[in-house]
Amino acid sequence: MAPIPGRPAASPRPGCRSRGVPGRELVAPTVVAILGALAYLAFPDDLAFFTRIIVAALFVMSLDLVVGYCGVATLGHAVLYGAGAYAAGILCVDGLTDPLLLIAAGSVAGVVAGLVTALVILRAHGLPQLVLSIAVVQLAYEAANKARDITGGSDGLSGISPGPVFGLFEFDLWGRTAYVLALVLLIATLVVLRRVVRSPFGLLCRGIKQDPDRIRAIGGTIYGNLVKMYALSGAVAGLAGGLTAVTTGVVGLDSVSFEWSAEALVMLVLGGAGTLYGALVGAVVFTGFEHYVAAVDPYHWLFVVGALLIGVVLALPAGLGSLAAWLRRLLPQGAP
């Protein structure tokens, strides 16, 4: 670059800066790995439930990529998830039994579904966009219901029995293999996504969310980049879908439903959109809360969950994740 005339760049960098600390990216994945391992040891009987939480967390993170980082309004994200689940499930029923290949296939299907969804819903903004996304998910739901021969319709696609992971680890009754597989995928996804949201592309997407016209004024394009983010989001959602197909052995219409999309959005907003951390917290808190409250009072838990949501809005409008951020500020900073 040509140096800009004038005074030399003299001003020293302010001391304590968040950027440029090496290894910081690995903190969150490490924490998740440790918590995951502790959960495995401490609650070996709850692994199936934890696996379900991890699937939800992956799905909510995927949603966060488009909602939290790009500002796209969608209540139809389950299309991406369901595509992954059905792709993995159908391939498995047709004889492909390697679980990792199945999950990869789910991820690819998620990308395709993401591209198709993006094509439709990025045509509008705000409320009309929300409505387009609802229309897309309802159409996908109906299509899956109609294609009974392939998807099993409302009876669900059953008979998915994947082989052992790496040919070594069978899916067992305790859900150990499933849990470890899910945890590893979660950590890997977290590492990759932390990278993405801190990349130039991530920065650009945050810009698009805050002011798309301003991005155009610095020469950035909107549509193409949003489509790209959708594809990435589809890869993660499809991964989650594929993972659920492989670990539960059944894919139901609920996986492409509006309800599942809406539930994910609730989890995301609950945890705090715009940070991967918030997505994780939201998924864990909502799923866990639902699980335990429903176990205590299966008849009226919905009321309690509703009250929780209202309470969070009134007390912590930025989501539960902001509570953690607030706590973190109280703690002494580790590295300079």
Partner: protein
């Protein structure tokens, strides 16, 4: 010992029952890591010793999964009512063992959650039997766990024929769509209807009903002039009624899952003048569950339905059953087929426990109830040894007003009906 399961893990399931006493409390505490490793050792030791499983006069747990909340909570509560009534009638003990029922809520079709709940019940709560389950996909998700978990599964509702084929450990005490629909087609022919229009909800059971009715009715020489699959979420049936009316049918056969759409469907049938035009409405009992009849009011009178249980079934067994329902705090007005499915399901479970002496032996348990027959509140029933599905009477009922209440009055009986769905498949 089954050979098709995973041999490495199968014994461990029994072991877990054995060591349940050791393991239970202090689960949610923080310092558990050490405890865990100790427990792993204990399990490993017991693993080596207790291959045959441990049998003593301990509590046998049964996990019941059903819609305790949500739009279908009536049926989840019916599971509990039916089971409570059975326990009130026959005591807490099956043989020498106490039986404890553990309930889990699953409010809609969600196979992933179903599997995780079933897994939790087997692994964590150490249940010896699974039961309940309202929706087909949920049952399908549970099925693959049973062999590995050595757990028989008594299906108290989900009505798709194929479910019992998914695992040798499934026994069903409810009904199937085919079972209830074939008599509906027969009775339509007997009553002399030639041209029938079919209207069903567009999902698995609806399509089962459609196929069953069409095949039976056409085989008996009738004509299906029109077959409409209505989206499950539809509640405005005006257009459907108009279409049926324009088609010139003598009768309409309809299936919708119990819930708000059935009310709208019946109203639309009346209000669009189909009843006045002399068209007969013929349904499975799902459209006319007793708790909904007061909402239909006089409009509902004359609807003919075929079903395996009516609350007004006249038999000492049914009277005793309803008396027990009242005794355990239930309202007779809330009783549906799900309560009877659960009542008979509890009977099957008790028989299984008696036969196995409380041991976890699914083969023996299932074998013990194959061919079992008894008098249920719904009438004489038996478990078909081939399909492990319940064989029962299917009644033709007509909605009538009796005093101030509306009932499904039984007017004809098709005795000992099997699951035609599985017979067809074979």
């Amino acid at each position: 010992m089954p050979t098709d399961g995973c041999p490495a893990f199968a014994p461990a399931a029994m072991v877990s029952i054995g060591v349940r006493v050791v393991s239970c409390p202090a689960r949610r505490k923080g310092e558990v890591v050490l405890m865990r490793s100790i427990r792993v050792l204990v399990v490993a030791a017991a693993f080596a010793v207790a291959i045959g499983g441990v049998a003593s006069a301990e509590t046998i747990k049964v996990g019941v999964i059903g819609p305790m909340s949500g739009p279908f909570s009536l049926y989840g509560r019916n599971f509990k009512l039916g089971i409570d009534a059975y326990v009130a009638m026959h005591g807490k003990k099956a043989g020498s063992h106490d039986v404890e029922f553990i309930y889990r809520d699953l409010d809609g079709p969600d196979p992933a959650k179903a599997k995780s709940l079933a897994q939790e019940l087997i692994v964590k709560d150490k249940v010896q039997y699974l039961a309940g389950v309202y929706f087909t996909p949920n049952a399908m998700a549970v099925a693959p766990l049973l062999v590995q978990g050595k757990t028989p599964f008594i299906l108290m509702n989900a009505a798709t024929s194929a479910i019992t084929e998914k695992s040798p450990y499934i026994v069903r005490t409810s009904f199937t769509m085919w079972q209830n629909t074939v008599p509906a087609a027969r009775v339509a022919r007997q009553k002399g209807y030639k041209k029938v229009a079919i209207a069903v909800s567009d999902y698995g059971p609806g399509i089962d009903a459609e196929t069953a009715f069409r095949q039976t009715f056409e085989a008996d020489g009738g004509t299906v002039i029109e077959s409409i699959r209505m989206p499950v979420r539809t509640t405005d049936f005006g257009p459907v009624m108009q279409r049926i009316r324009n088609g010139g049918a003598d009768a309409v056969f309809a299936f919708l899952p119990a819930g708000p759409p059935t009310l709208a469907f019946v109203k639309a049938f009346i209000d669009n003048g189909l009843k006045a035009a002399g068209i007969q409405l013929l349904t499975t009992g799902d459209v006319t569950p007793e708790p909904d009849l007061p909402q239909f009011g006089d409009d509902g009178i004359g609807i003919i339905s075929t079903y395996h249980y009516s609350r007004s079934h006249a038999s000492p067994e049914n009277e005793a059953f309803l008396a027990k329902i009242r005794e355990v705090g239930g309202r007779v007005e809330d009783v549906t087929m799900a309560a009877v499915g659960a009542f008979d399901g509890a009977h099957v479970i008790y028989k299984m426990i008696e036969a196995t002496g409380g041991e976890r032996d699914p083969e023996k348990a299932v074998a013990a109830v194959k061919g079992l027959s008894w008098i249920s509140p719904r009438g004489p029933v038996s478990i078909d040894p081939e399909t492990r599905h319940i064989t029962q009477n299917v009644y033709v009922r007509s909605v009538e007003k009796q005093g101030s209440t509306y009932i499904n009055k039984e007017i004809l009986t098709f005795a000992n009906q099997p699951d035609y769905g599985l017979i067809k498949a074979k």
